[in-house]
Amino acid sequence: MKFKTLFGAALLVFAGSAFAQQPSNRLFVTNEEDNTVSVVNAGTLEVEATIEIGNRPRGIGLSPDGSRVYVALGDDDAIGVIDTHSLEVLDHIPAGSDPEAFAVHPNGNLYLSNEDDNLASVLNPETREILAEIPVGIEPEGVGATPDGSRVMVTSESTNMVHVITVPEHEVIAHVLVGARPREITFTQDGHLGYVTSEVAGEIAKFDVATNTIIMTAKLDEIDGVKPKGVLLSPDESTLYVSTGRGNSIAVVDAETLALKNTIPVGTRVWGIALSKDGTRLYACNGVSGTLSVVDTVAGKEIATVEVGSMPWGVVLDD
């Protein structure tokens, strides 16, 4: 009897802790004009909730353990924090002036771009402390961390540079000129290569992390009105997915040659994107359409759209 109860209790505790660590399998979308976050079930594609989060939500990211979603609130000068399971708004953390976007470092700290201050800030979301403020160029936007956490890179859209920051020293060791209006950067798993989008130049560039140099660029001008913004690597790192703004499509690019392999039409003014862990589903925010596109990357086409809020900007998937 006693043994059974103990065993049962152990099972419950185990199940309980396993449940707490299960991904919520939810998509979280910032709606820049609505001041909300849409919560979409990635399985059923139903909108489960619309959360009032704060003013001018744009950048969005998951904590390393998947328990929290962070949202940059530009007009509140804060980071909003949402529990991915209970959907409770847990905190608004002061985050310097006009935070637009951020990268979540493997150690849990947020590296954020303060758009109107020409700064990148480092925020510990647990202690709510700003650990460092790093001068960068004008209109900092995209922030990316290498998977090993040794480097964080920040794009400054108006100064047309990628600024390379060492972690934990927080020294800027390089300022690299790229195409006009650089937006975002993503890295290979081994951290050797980065890929940077430049919106006004209509380009994607391959970045060598060891030497802090651009080693290849390609214009995506086969796509009418192309404005490269979001960039993600497929799990096997053979393919880049690039959102194209008014190009109204996802550009499928060969990561080795930077040649355009395919163009997948989605909604209007496509902006932030997210990729499932297995790489078979890509999700894209259509800013002007007010929808989230669901793309089957294997079939190479959009298979569904979900109505979200007004001017969807960024999306993350907790899977």
């Binding site: 100064t159 006009a180 130049a201 009105g225």
Partner: protein, 278 residues
């Protein structure tokens, strides 16, 4: 033996980076880019001048990361003479007569001269090599209005280079920066001045050269300038900077952009203005 070796290593670990820093510090003398702004001090061109100054400030934010120092010198049209150091580029806010006199002085030296104030069609039609125009021509403005009226018959609109309420394409950020620096709204005149100094920074940063001829060549052949109006802006062979324009109603309320969607593609900048030379 072990102690000496570890002591030596400790010293080297301090000394080597210190030496590297020192040698870098010694090499840190910036390259100067001297930009000459010719404008009367009368106040008539205050916006244009503010714009050039904002552009210079922003150029130096980038320049600081590259060891480049942009220096702006302002003189009145009467003070300009044949002697003196050759600038990297000249910006002019003045009459057509003043502009052309300054052009005749500097163009033969290979220095690009940039008109930041005048809309005269004649200046574009005359196709002066080495003369650049950042403001739109009268014809560009008229074509923008005509496009709008094709979509909206009977509408009373005015076309302009910039508008303080424009938020698209990071327009909000540019307007914010201008307001913070000057405490007044950014207008078309200021944008034309800003574009001039910012485009010079594009030329210098991307070519690695502050030579006037190289700057002029880059402007003519390679520049694709982010004027924060959404479409990269290039120069026509007649010296005109291609650009989208903005449209406002009679009361000055912002209505939209040209090229007007439905009439022309939004990146078809040659749908407005003078394309040919005399």
């Amino acid at each position: 033996m072990k102690t000496v070796k570890s002591l030596l290593l400790r010293v080297l670990r301090w000394l080597v980076p210190a030496l590297c820093f020192f040698s870098v510090a010694q090499a840190a003398e910036p390259r100067h880019v001297n930009m000459l702004l010719v404008a009367p001090s009368s106040g008539e061109y205050a916006s244009h001048i503010n714009g050039v100054v904002l552009g210079e400030t922003e150029a130096n934010i980038q320049g600081r990361f590259m060891g480049i120092d942009y220096v702006l010198q302002q003189v009145s049209p009467d003070e300009v003479s044949a002697g003196g150091d050759k600038p990297a580029v000249v910006f002019v806010a003045g009459t057509a007569e003043q502009l052309l006199r300054i052009y005749e002085l500097y163009a033969p030296q290979g220095v690009a001269v940039v008109n930041i104030a005048l809309a005269d069609n004649a200046l574009r039609e005359q196709c002066h090599p080495g003369l650049y125009h950042t403001p739109p021509s009268q014809k560009m403005l008229a074509d923008a209005v005509a496009q709008w009226q094709q979509q909206n018959p009977g509408a009373s609109v005015q076309a302009m280079t910039w508008h303080p309420a424009f938020v698209k394409f990071a327009g909000r950020d540019l307007n914010k920066r201008y307001m913070e620096q000057f405490s007044v709204e950014m207008d078309s005149a200021a944008w034309a001045g800003w574009a001039a100094s910012r485009m010079v920074a594009e030329a210098v940063s991307r070519t690695g050269s502050e030579a006037p001829e190289e700057i002029a060549r880059y402007l003519s052949e390679d520049l694709a300038f982010d004027g924060q109006k959404g479409v990269p802006q290039t120069f026509r062979s007649n010296g005109q900077m291609r650009q989208p324009l903005l449209l406002a109603d009679a009361s000055g309320e912002l209505l939209g952009e040209a090229p007007v969607r439905g009439v022309a593609d939004s990146d078809d900048l040659d749908s407005m203005g003078i394309l040919d030379c005399d």
